[in-house]
Amino acid sequence: MRYLPDLLGGLVVTLELTVLSFLGALVLGTLLGVARVSPVRSLRAFGAAYVGALRNVPLLVLLVLFVFGLPDVGVTYSLFTSAVICLALYAAAFVCETVRSGIRTVPLGQAEAARSIGLTFGQALRHVILPQAFRAMVQPLANVFIGVVLGTSLVAAVGVADLTNRGSALTLRYDEPLIVFAWATAFYVVITLGSGVLAGRLERAVRINR
């Protein structure tokens, strides 16, 4: 049990990484999603290019590029900040796609009604389309969240002391390898299953019964 405080420290880092980068991804991803459905072709093209690149590059490659490559061109952040930026940039591509398919679930009549009372594109999105789209997006966004939880583990490979990193380090230090991994596993299971349950509740609470 002597390794447990260390492991809990790693758990805190994992949670901080998850929450910060998911919030960043939510904001950036929504903006990108809006860009992808906007009437401006250059914004649509930018959104498509962003998603095409960030969804197809492995997260670990992004992390390695950011942590080991970018200092060469004078871009240096702390390890933790780099990790948050990478995770947020990466997850934003998935949030963007979720927003896009969320918008698709809103019945056409809603958009037509919004236009017919004279709302502009931005107003219609903000007041009519997105509030409804987000209700349909709870489950997919929860999946992105779980993806971020699991994705944070990759920061261990570039040296951030998260749950996975501490787990492997403690395994090397103490002679109880499987127990340490069992604890780390249990923490991950609790986070992912817990957020799944919460998402289910949230979804029922905000659902629109059509």
């Binding site: 992808r36 459905v37 906007s38 009437p39 401006v40 072709r41 250059s42 649509r44 095409g52 690149a53 197809n56 590059v57 492995p58 997260l59 670990l60 490659v61 992004l62 390695v64 590029l65 080991f68 490559g69 970018l70 061109v73 004078g74 998935f94 979720t98 398919s101 918008i103 698709r104 958009a111 236009r115 594109f121 219609a124 389309i129 997919p140 999946n143 779980i146 993806g147 971020v148 699991l150 994705g151 944070t152 583990s153 990759l154 261990a156 490979a157 996975t164 787990g167 492997s168 395994t171 390898p177 499987l178 991994f181 780390a184 596993t185 991950y188 299971v189 986070i191 992912t192 299953l193």
Partner: protein, 284 residues
Amino acid sequence: MTSGDDYRILFDEPGPRARRTIRIVTAVSIVVGLVLAGLAVRQFAINGQLAADKWRMFTEWPYQRFLLTGLVKTLQAAAVCTVLALPLGALLALARLSGTRLLRWPATVFVELFRSVPALLLVYVFLLGLPRFGIVLPVFWQLVVPIVISGTATVAELFRAGVLSMERGQFEAAYSVGLTPGQAMRLIILPQVVRRLVPVLVTAVVSLLKDTTLGYVVSYSELLNSGRTLAQYTQALVQTYLVVAVLYIVVNGLLSRLAAHLEQRQRRRGTAPIRAEAVVTLVT
């Protein structure tokens, strides 16, 4: 997936004022984009990273061959992971859907457990944990086995969602002509599910391919790990990692495009392909 035509409903055919606004936003966004790109290039330039000798190696065959060998090993690892994870995932889904508790419960536990654990943690178990008990896998399998374990759990959820999304009439019709549940599954349900799952399974392959970057951790010389070796040898870190990133984007981009193409073809033919994000994310 076309350039936004599916969203025409969100905005009217632009009139003169809207057209002007669109023109202004277009101009501003292009200027901002050019400025940002210029700043990035400047950042490279003032740090001397645009120097020709920092990039020349990518035109020379020995370096190209080194990276391409890494890419081939990435593809090999991804192929082995795919060949193992897809059938195992399908079997696991069938076990989870079966009426026998002895099959259903272990399958459920396996899927829920390994969907919730990062593949990297499993890699460390095989890399650092099991050797204490005298279990040491060859490097290739130290990479592939953890990816297959977590990939199998993901694929199982895709198959299960596929079976659950089948119309009940398909089961009822199969039973009414006298097929047993096993026969109905094998002859009627699965063939349809597999066809509808193909696009999403291609996306699953992309995520397996991304997982093979964990070779960086186990020191299996796939593309990312080869990139690290090359970067350390040439001291051109940012260049090498950029080239590696572009290679991954090209390969995965082709697979993603194939998935989108298959999905659209199915939509045209009136079969509803199964969407991944409803069930699981293939994020990492």
